[in-house]
């Protein structure tokens, strides 16, 4: 088994950074890019966890530590994503302007800036410390759910695929909540490995992310869910990384590893029940060796974020973080029970077993009744929207498969969304166009075609006569 570090590199080579003679001068071992965009003038609502104040103390800590002065840590100004960047991933209903604010264009742009800097070889790694977050945003967007409107990682990844020809990507989502939006977007994509590590969905929003959620019939196995029990501490979390995530990454051999770096597993987070410390976050970052990290959730804005973000930045840059700790941290208070440890070990065995059996599980899934169909309801907690979806995927061994989705929000007339994947085979391409062209125009308010083979996006609004 190869190590993740040995994966094929497709990026520009950067020169090794020389160590200065002084020895005490801090110098990043990995040149690390940062986009810091705290959106100090943007909130979902005044008392919402996703509010102006969220990254204030993180900024104070980052500034006071002098992190931006360290040789080899570079701060970039975020770009703004284009409508094309958004429509490469999402079907926004009725259009992107209706579901996005300026801040979303910038936070997705921050991720894109970091992605480009990494691909250009300007930096070795990068961290987009931006808000608002994105991992609950699904392929179809009617509004905000789980504080997210658009999926900033997916927008970045699909841009990198288009601009740099990246193929195999792994996303490791370490937010405490299941990354259900990212899962939805990559459900049918065998070239994107999505691993979500989160507090068990039986005890936390969004209530999904169980072992049996493994991807669609064309991509069984490349969606992996690791639901950890409440009160998991650093020990259990790092075990998960070492014993489950790293071996799977080594098998998958991604060209890029993206970390959806939520920080709400912290012991002080007000809306979750996990016990990870800043040291734990830094250590997991060291282990994971992600090329790109993107901030997701994390709402202990004073007790956790200043320290976890400092830890992640230091770890990405390959700098020493031994002296970093929260003022109130006591390892004994947050030690996990032996029962928790035992549970996680068993969970690990199951995760690896499923991974090993992915090919046979795919056969089995396809043999079921109507494997190409999926019908589900999606709830948008932030905007109070009930969405009903009916999905059809073309079963295909040559590509991710053409995808057709009918979606209705709050019982209104549905829209139709047709997706043709990046490397679609000609049969799937034809199928996609056929679905789009033959759609009954009286049945839908909007009909969308996202054809990734030509990087184009078409929308028809039948009642307007087009």
């Amino acid at each position: 088994m190869g190590k993740p570090g040995s994966r094929p590199s497709i990026r520009g080579q950067t020169k090794n950074i020389q160590q200065p003679g002084t020895g005490t001068m801090l110098q990043a071992k990995k040149k690390t890019g940062l986009v810091f965009f705290p959106a100090f003038d943007w909130a979902i609502s005044p008392t919402h966890p996703e509010r102006e104040e969220r990254l204030l103390y993180t900024q104070d800590q980052v500034f006071e530590e002098g992190l931006l002065d360290i040789e080899g840590i570079v701060e970039f100004k975020p770009d703004v994503v284009t409508i094309g960047d958004v429509q490469r991933v999402h079907f926004c209903v009725p259009d992107p302007w209706a579901v996005m604010t300026e801040s979303h264009f910038i936070s997705a742009g921050g991720a894109k800036t970091i992605g480009m800097a990494v691909m250009d070889g300007t930096v070795d790694r990068g961290f987009a410390l931006v808000r608002p977050p994105g991992h609950h945003a699904c392929r179809i967007v009617h509004g905000a759910r789980g504080f997210c409107n658009v999926n900033i990682e997916a927008i970045m990844i699909e841009f990198l695929r288009r601009a740099y020809g990246v193929e195999r990507v792994a996303i490791v989502d370490t937010d405490c909540h299941h990354g259900d939006g990212t899962q939805d977007i990559y459900w049918h994509d065998p070239n994107t490995l999505f691993i979500s590590i989160h507090q068990d969905g039986r005890t936390l929003y969004p209530g999904t992310g169980f072992l049996n959620e493994m991807g669609g019939p064309n991509a069984i196995g490349t969606t992996i869910n690791i639901p950890l029990p409440p009160n998991t501490s650093d020990e259990g979390y790092l075990y998960t990384i070492k014993e489950m995530v790293l071996p799977i990454l080594a098998d998958f051999k991604p060209q890029l590893i993206i970390n959806s770096a939520g920080q709400d597993n912290h012991y002080s987070d007000p809306i979750t029940n996990m016990n990870i410390s800043a040291q734990g976050y830094a250590a997991l970052t060291t282990l994971l060796k992600a090329d790109i990290a993107v901030l997701e959730g994390g709402y202990s804005i004073e007790g956790a974020l200043p320290y976890t973000n400092t830890g992640i930045i230091l770890a990405m840059a390959g700098l020493d973080y031994d002296n970093l700790r929260e003022p109130d941290y006591n390892v004994e208070t947050y030690r996990q029970s032996s029962k928790t440890t035992g549970y996680i070990h068993e969970l690990g065995d199951k995760v690896l077993e499923l991974w090993e059996q992915r090919d046979s599980l795919k056969e089995k899934a396809r043999a079921g009744t109507h494997p190409e169909q999926r019908i589900r309801s999606i709830y948008y907690d932030t905007d109070s929207i009930h969405e009903h979806q009916s999905e059809t995927i073309r079963i295909c061994d040559d590509c991710g498969g053409a995808l057709r989705i009918e979606s209705a929000a709050n019982g209104q007339k549905p829209i139709l969304a047709v997706h043709i994947p990046v490397k679609a085979c000609s049969a799937c391409r034809d199928q996609g166009h056929k679905w789009f062209e033959s759609a009954d125009r009286t049945q839908f308010t909007d009909i969308f075609l996202q054809d990734r083979t030509t990087d184009s996006y078409l929308s028809l609004t039948p009642h307007k006569g087009k």
Partner: protein, 550 residues
């Protein structure tokens, strides 16, 4: 009348102004080994035959502190640092006698680890044993709560002559820079104090008792008494003298690029609507990154005396200076020699220039005149490229609000203001290569000393208020006050303005009207659970750098 004196690496410029009228200008050679003698010679020359009582003030810009740092002639001092959790503070070591102790505050200034008094005292004893007379103390987040630094100073004071505290030098966050800033102040202090005491005494002997101000790198000045408390705030003041010298001829609106073209280097700075742009954090000198307020300046290695060579068939200019131009008896060809060949030189021996450029022309396969033209154009191109890079860096500065990112305007210089010895020659060529207007600053050879004379006093105040804790604090001003829960940003602004005015008078601001401005301000509601527990308010204000009114 006002005296302005600017000590440069090669020359020292001294001028005498009556109102805005230039009465006298003098250029003498700087003796870097004896700045005291240079300073006195300059001052004596400029006031010769003038009634000492008619001199209202003198503003001096010296390289004293800069040289001490650059030549690593700093004395041993003790630095004691309380880091708390975060990057290991041992990484920020500035000097040999650098100690870390236990003690910490968090980002809101709440004590999270008590100070270890015994550790500090034992360091005090060690410093005393070694005969170290000066010490600096710094703690993390001391700009939010200075109590631990004050306690450290109290504990060390019995063992040394003077202790400097980090929070007094800047209200900005940046612990490593605060350490470096405190160290430099501490280490420059003894020489600075002795030097300016001697200057004051010598001037008094000549009957000169006017107030003496020292120029700072932020385009302002402070009185000599304040400078003794903040001696490192005199480091790298040279470029700010030139910038202030250019200000009077800058248009009141629009963006100007100031180019001070010297013998070895060209210093660049930016003026927006006649106000100079400040560096985001502070000066960087040698290996020290500091919080010493400064104008945003960049220096590139090209000037009138830069050495011209041909390397592998390509023309290079600078970054070194071998000596004077050949026209003035120097050893190697320079851009100044190119002017002489092209008939743009004043004085000097054009024939020597021509002879000097012959090998260059030969190596390039050009005639001497063509080579001179190429040298001239290349020098100007290099300067403009350097300027473009600087502007680009300024424009790519990250911003942290949606509003700033969306509305943020990019700057684009519309004017070039040129000063320094070869200003007129360069201006003529630059006009053909630059889209906007090119101006030569009046009295371009001594405009730096004029800028020095006319600079206002500058200073800055940072206030932090936390209504949940019920405190407002400006540690730099020794200000701590209890506030009520309905304290607002407007109250904070008012309070900061008041503290700033008080500080300005102490720093030597005189009759000139005090123009204060807000550099940064923010107010955040602090929500815990779904309750608003208070407001977190930050205000940073400055005395605007500029010229005195009369």
């Amino acid at each position: 009348m006002i005296i302005g004196l600017d000590v440069g690496g090669t020359h020292t410029d001294v001028i005498l102004l009556d109102g805005r009228q230039l009465i006298r200008e003098i250029k003498i050679t700087t003796n870097p080994e004896n700045l005291f003698q240079t300073l006195l010679a300059g001052l004596s020359a400029v006031i010769e035959g003038i009634d000492p009582k008619s001199i209202q003030r003198a503003v001096l810009s010296t390289t004293l502190a800069t040289n001490l740092v650059a030549q690593q002639k700093l004395p041993d001092v003790g630095i004691v640092v309380a880091g708390g959790p975060g990057i290991d503070p041992r990484h920020f070591r500035t000097n040999d006698f650098y100690y870390t102790v236990d003690g910490a505050q968090d980002h809101r200034g709440r004590e999270i680890q008590p100070l270890d008094h015994e550790q500090v005292q034992s360091i005090g004893r060690a410093l005393e044993r070694r005969g170290i007379l000066y010490a600096g103390v710094v703690s993390k987040f001391s700009v939010r709560n200075s109590k631990q630094e004050e306690k450290m100073a109290d504990l060390l004071q019995p063992f040394v002559e003077r202790v400097f505290m980090g929070h007094r030098f800047s209200g900005n966050l940046n612990f490593p820079r605060r350490i470096a800033t405190t160290y430099l102040n501490c280490a420059v202090y003894p020489v600075h104090k002795k030097f300016f005491k001697a200057v004051q005494e010598s001037l008094a002997e000549k009957g000169l008792t006017m107030p003496i101000h020292i120029l700072r790198p932020d385009g302002g000045n402070m009185n000599i008494e304040s400078s003794v408390d903040h001696p490192a705030q005199t480091i790298l003041s040279g470029p700010s003298a030139s910038v202030m010298g250019a200000i009077s001829s800058a248009p009141s609106q629009g963006t100007c690029l100031v180019l001070d073209i010297g013998g070895t280097t060209t210093d660049m700075a930016v003026l927006i609507d006649k106000a100079p742009l400040l560096a985001p954090l502070g000066i960087e000198i040698c290996r020290y990154k500091t919080l010493i307020r400064a104008l945003r300046t960049e220096s590139i290695g090209i000037g009138g005396d830069s050495t011209v060579r041909v390397r592998e068939g390509k023309l290079t200019i600078g970054p070194d200076r071998t000596g004077k131009a050949m026209a003035y008896g120097g050893p190697e060809p320079t851009p100044t020699d190119a002017f002489h060949v092209l008939g743009k030189g004043a004085g000097g021996d054009a024939a020597r220039s021509r002879t000097g450029l012959e090998p260059v022309a030969g190596a390039l396969g050009l005639s001497v005149d063509q080579a001179a033209k190429l040298i001239f154009e290349t020098a100007c191109r290099t300067i403009l490229d350097g300027a473009a890079e600087m502007i680009n860096t300024i424009n790519s500065k990250p911003v942290y609000t949606v509003h700033e990112l969306w509305e943020g305007s990019r700057i684009r210089p519309e004017h070039l203001l040129i000063l320094g010895g070869p200003a007129p020659q360069f201006a003529e060529q630059l006009q053909t290569m630059f889209d906007g207007k090119v101006h030569v600053v009046p009295h371009y050879q001594v405009a730096n000393a004029i800028g020095c004379a006319l600079a206002r006093t500058t200073c800055e105040v940072t206030l932090f208020a936390d209504t949940a804790q019920g405190i407002a604090t400006a540690p730099g001003e020794c200000f701590n006050s209890k506030i009520s829960s309905n304290f607002t940003l407007a109250n904070a602004r008012e309070l900061t303005d008041e503290l700033l005015r008080k500080k300005a008078l102490k720093r030597g601001a005189g009759s000139e009207t005090l123009e204060t401005e807000i550099l940064e301000e923010s107010q955040f509601n602090m929500i815990r659970g779904f309750q608003t527990i208070g407001k977190n308010i930050r205000v940073r204000m400055q005395l605007k750098p500029g010229l005195i009114s009369k």
